[in-house]
Each structure stands twice: as structure tokens, then as C-alpha cells.
């Protein structure tokens, strides 16, 4: 072992003086950075720093994001549920500055099973009676409508998708409120047919189709799809309009169950008028 007192003979190129000078220069530069950046927040230095550190942080956050995806999804669903709640209720009683009556209630859920290849397609969701789901509640996704609940158990509920040959959905053109019935021909899950739109009005390709709310199932003005072709019928005075759905029902997973609270009240009124009309 050779014992050398390194520290007593430093390989300092220009002597000790230069070392101290360098030290103070570096300190000065450091303080200059500090003071300058405090004075002017948008300095050149900050932008270069953003580029370097953001690269590492982006990489890191991508990994973290992937791991926290489930949690993020839940948060998003929850915030979307709140937004949907306010949106639906605000549209119907827009005269009030604050929402007094909750006409629509929104419950988030997941589709756990669904069919797409049958003529009458159905689905199952993981929310049931305990969470407040009832038959005839509408099921919508963030993009468009999905279906209607038919049967409810304690924790689960089943329903029929809008892709069925039994019932249509009352829909209307967003631009002029002409309403008709939206049905499925059982061929392609991406397209549905809007009929009963009179052929004297102008329908353009690309027009938006929304729910009318007249069937008391879906909330009014909820998006459905866009017009992709318009055909004039030879027998009657109506159009046959092909609508491409906004929601790709094959991959729908996160949905919202929309409860229409005034449904029974309106139904009772309508029953009464039907009675009167049938008497007359």
C-alpha cells in the first residue's frame, strides 16, 4: 500500500487563486440565474428547462398513467355523470338560474354483457334495484343513446339495445325539430333508419339526429347520429333517411342510466286524454 497525501498536492492548473475565483464566479452565475428568473418568469432559461425535464416527466407519467388508468376512468365517469346531470336538467328547466327539480337522474354503470349479432339485441349492466335502476330507464353513453332497461334485479339490470326489430326510438332532426321514428333493419349495427320525415323539407347529408323525448324514454336532445343518405319514397310522402350512429355499440362499455322522474305523471295525463278521445 502506498500512502500518498493527495490532498497536499492538488493538480490545480493555475494555482489556488484560480480555484477560489472559479468558485465565486460559479456562485455569482448561480445567483444571477436566481435573480434573473425571479425578475422575468418567461426567461430563455425556463423554456430550455421545460424541454429537458418534460421529456423525462412525460415518460414517467406515461407509465404512471397506464397504471392509474382504471382510477382515472372512474374519475372521468363520475365527472361526466355530473355534467350529464346538469346538462339534462338545465335544458328542461332553463328559466331557473339553479336547478330546483331534478327531472333527470344519472347513474354510471358498465355493460358487462351484450349481443350485437341478433335481431333483437340485449345487454346487461352492473347496476340494479339497489342503485335505483328501474325498468324503462334510458341507457346512454357519452356519444349517443344505447338502449332501454327492461328487467331489474337486486344488483343487475338487463335491457334491449336500440338495435332491435321490436321498438323504434322517437328521434328528430336537430336543425328543424321534424320528428320521426328511428328503427333498425337488422343488417348493420352502425346504421339505423329514420322514417316519417315529410319529404317537403330539406334534409342534408351530415345533419344531426337527436332524440325527441316524446317516447318518454330517452332524454330530449340527446345525440344519436348523422344523416348519411336520404331517399324519397315513391309510395308515400316521406323520406327514408339512413343514420350513422355516433356510438359504436360493439365497443360500448361505460354507460349512464338516465331516470326520467316525471315519466309517470306525464303518462297519467296522456292516459286521461286518450280516454277522453276514445269516448268522443
Amino acid at each position: 500500500m502506498i500512502n500518498i497525501r493527495f490532498l497536499l498536492k492538488i493538480k490545480c492548473c493555475s494555482g489556488r487563486f484560480f480555484l477560489h475565483l472559479l468558485f465565486f464566479i460559479l456562485l455569482f452565475v448561480g445567483f444571477a440565474f436566481t435573480i434573473k428568473r425571479q425578475a422575468n418568469w418567461n426567461g430563455v432559461f425556463l423554456t430550455t428547462s421545460n424541454n429537458l425535464s418534460s421529456f423525462v416527466y412525460t415518460l414517467y407519467s406515461k407509465i404512471g398513467e397506464y397504471l392509474a388508468l382504471k382510477q382515472d376512468n372512474d374519475t372521468l365517469l363520475n365527472s361526466y355523470r355530473k355534467l350529464l346531470f346538469f346538462l339534462l336538467n338545465e335544458k328542461t328547466n332553463c328559466h331557473y338560474t339553479e336547478i330546483k327539480d331534478t327531472i333527470f337522474e344519472v347513474i354510471p354503470g358498465h355493460i358487462i354483457q351484450k349481443t350485437i349479432s341478433l335481431q333483437n339485441n340485449f345487454f346487461t349492466i352492473d347496476k340494479g334495484k339497489k342503485q335505483g335502476v328501474q325498468p324503462e330507464d334510458a341507457v346512454v353513453s357519452a356519444n349517443g343513446i344505447v338502449g332501454v332497461i327492461t328487467n331489474v334485479s337486486e344488483n343487475f339490470a338487463t335491457g334491449i339495445l336500440i338495435l332491435n326489430r321490436l321498438n323504434g326510438v322517437s328521434a328528430k332532426l336537430k336543425k328543424n325539430n321534424y320528428f320521426g321514428s328511428l328503427t333498425w333493419n337488422g343488417k348493420n349495427y352502425l346504421f339505423m333508419t329514420l322514417s316519417e320525415i315529410p319529404n317537403h323539407i330539406k334534409v342534408n347529408i351530415g345533419d344531426t339526429v337527436v332524440t325527441s323525448g316524446y317516447d318518454l324514454l330517452f332524454p330530449p336532445n340527446y345525440p344519436i347520429g348523422t344523416v348519411i343518405s336520404v331517399k324519397k319514397n315513391s309510395q308515400d310522402n316521406f323520406f327514408t333517411i339512413k343514420v350513422k350512429l355516433f356510438e359504436d355499440l360493439k365497443q360500448t362499455d361505460n354507460v349512464f342510466i338516465v331516470k326520467y322522474n316525471n315519466k309517470t305523471e306525464i303518462r297519467n295525463l296522456q292516459k286521461r286524454i286518450k280516454k277522453i278521445l276514445s269516448i268522443d
Binding site: 500518498i4 492538488i10 490545480c12 492548473c13 448561480g30 429537458l52 423525462v56
Partner: protein, 171 residues
Amino acid sequence: MELRLAWKYFLYFITLLLLQVLVFDNMVVSKYLFYPNVFVLFILLLPFELDLNIMLIVGFISGLIYDIFIHSLAFNAISFTVIAYLRYYILKLIIPREGYIANTLPSYIYYGFNWFFLYSLIIVFVYELIFNFLVYFKVSFNRILLNSIVDFLLSFFFVMVLHLTFYKNKL
């Protein structure tokens, strides 16, 4: 040899920086924002023979790079420069009885646990004192002291743990 050592220190720098930025900076304790700093270990382990001028510049630049990550103006650059400057005098102060041996690093494998304990204790404390002084300069004197002491305890613990667990091989 020299090149190999430089390469080793480069990897060392990257590892410590990422560890600090991605792990230890997220270990913020309490509302007083205490967090451990293990990046000092890089300065602690620089070789004895390194030219002091170069050491100052290395300290300044590594501190600045760390500053860039945590957006702390140039506080780390300043405090790293100071400890890089003072390291020489601290090493001289705590010189072991048989002196420093050629081709060794300031590590516990060469000079024992007690020596390294004292060495890192002084340097980490000086670092935390200067850094917290710069950060909380406008806040209060008590805050400087409080943060220095708690940060020092955290940093010192993690520096020792990291060094003792991952630094096994001699040069």
C-alpha cells in the same frame, strides 16, 4: 481506466438523478414539504484525484440539471458548488490516521463505516443548510432551521441506506 471511471460516473449521475427526481422528490412529508435528497451522493463519491476546478464545474452543472427538473431557480447549483468547494477542506479535516490511499474513492469500503458516517453527515448537513437557506430565505429563520434539520435527517438516512446497500464493489 480514466474513461471507464468517467463512464461509470456518468451512469451513476443518471441513475441518481432519476432516482431523486422520480422517487425521492415525491416522498414529500407533511405540510412543511420535507423531502430527502440523495443526489448529494454524487458529489460525495467523486474521486479524490479529480481536479478541484473540474469538481466545482461538475458540482455546478449537476446542481443546475437537478434544478431544471424541480424548477428551483439555481438553488441546487449554488449549494452543490458550495459543497464541491468545501469537500476538499472537509476531507482534509477528517483525514484518517493512515491518510488517503491512491486509487480509492471516498467510500465506506475503503475507510470504514465510521469515517463515511462522519463525512456524509457533514456534507449532507452543509448542503441542506445552504439549500434551505436559499429556499426559505424570505420566509423565516425558524423555517430554515426546521427544514434543514428534518431534511438532513431524511437525506442522511437515505444516503447511508443507498450507499451501504448498492455500493459493494471496489474499483
